[in-house]
Amino acid sequence: MANYHPTDELLMAFSAGQLPNALGLMLACHIEHCPDCQRKMHQFNELGGNILDSLEPLALDEGAIGKLLERLDEPEPVVEKVEMLPGIPRPLQRFMPAHYDNLAWQGMSSSLKEFTLDIDDDRYTTKLFRIAAGKQLPEHTHKGNEFTLVMKGSFSDKTCNYHAGDFVLADTSTRHQPQAANDSDCICLAVMDAPLKLTGTFGRMLNPFMR
């Protein structure tokens, strides 16, 4: 079970349907396996129900009910079935072209590879990162917010260990050198609004290639 969760403010915005696509999908992935956040989501939905209930009613167009009744017997739209990739959270299924092992990973170094997911979003880019088992990334900070969800394996930085399901927020004040655990590669979903900015000497050299 996850130890690190999205903030209540993010969960509320998710329940309100007000998060950008990329971040919304990431929260959905976390919530799928997190009973605590499911409970909170339930409560925020209930609050949404209360809000709906509290609104001043607005009369509908006179013909609205007639139009609707005519449509009731229309055949339901056919939902395209996606073949489920095992081990991938449901919200990401439609956006993953293949399982982790078969993705066309790209990257400059053997320790860090990335794969960009095609998710429409005005503000955020969505990527999968793969840190090789036991490898440590060069120290870096972030130009903006970066939300990370551990999908598989685990990584640690100076202060914490993060495992599958953990939701981590890094921002401009975060300066860290994440290291994957020795036993397996660590795969993370990352939603970011600005490219990584590396800080160490080695990092500065790598930086132009790591965007």
Partner: protein, 224 residues
């Protein structure tokens, strides 16, 4: 020769058969829905595919659904279309409503929210849909049942537990989805005030949730 009267009597029987049926249906099968709860209306739609229950549900809820869409920024004609889509979904998905996992209004909220989002996304030709983010609403049945029993009345609604100044910020989050900095500009209040009001609202909700949990434990203990 004998067969004729027999046939006749069959015809006669058939002819008079429907009549008592109609009469019976007037008294027992045709329910007066005007004072039914939203929960009962949805059950009638799901189990009997009853269009009269559907019309009643439409009467009772669609004006608020329209108000919701407009609060979220839709113009009148878009709001009408979003309500159409929402009610069409109610008709098709009534069987997914589980009274044990929440109230009807919460279920309707999740449907109007999703239709509102998908309406906006369709216009922007985006591939992400609400189906990717939300499975049909399902929750911890026991926990919500307890809450349901304790808070059947409007006075116990989560919203009513919040003071007006916190409510105002919460409304902004649900309807406008603005970052806190923009809410602060809109309301001409310092950012810190917005954040602390939202935090206070969260704390209050958390206390209510814990209260529900303790009731749950008490009820479970009483059952043993």
């Amino acid at each position: 020769m004998n067969s004729l009267p027999l046939t006749k009597s069959r015809v006669a029987l058939q002819n008079c058969d429907p009549k008592p049926c109609v009469d019976r249906s007037l008294t027992t099968n045709v329910t007066d829905y005007s004072s039914s709860s939203l929960e009962d209306l949805i059950a009638a739609i799901s189990e009997k595919r009853d269009k009269r229950a559907f019309v009643e549900l439409f009467k009772q809820t669609s004006p608020r659904l329209k108000a919701f869409a407009m609060q979220c920024g839709a113009n009148v004609s878009d709001a009408e279309e979003i309500v159409q889509e929402c009610m069409l979904n109610v008709w098709r998905k009534a069987h997914t409503f589980k009274p044990k996992s929440g109230t009807a209004i919460t279920w309707l909220y999740t449907i109007i929210r999703n239709r509102r989002i998908d309406f906006a996304r369709k216009n922007r030709h985006e591939t992400v849909s609400s189906d990717d983010m939300w499975l049909e609403e399902s929750g911890d049945e026991l926990e919500s049942q307890v809450h349901h029993d304790l808070s059947g009345e409007k006075a116990r609604s989560l919203l009513d537990a919040l003071p007006n100044e916190q409510k105002q910020v919460v409304y902004k989050v649900y309807f406008e989805g603005k970052p806190h900095s923009e809410i602060s500009k809109d309301l001409e209040l310092p950012l810190g005030t917005i954040k602390s009001r939202l935090r206070l609202a969260m704390n209050k909700l958390e206390i209510l949730a814990k209260e529900q949990m303790s009731w749950l434990i008490i009820i479970l203990l009483m059952n043993f």
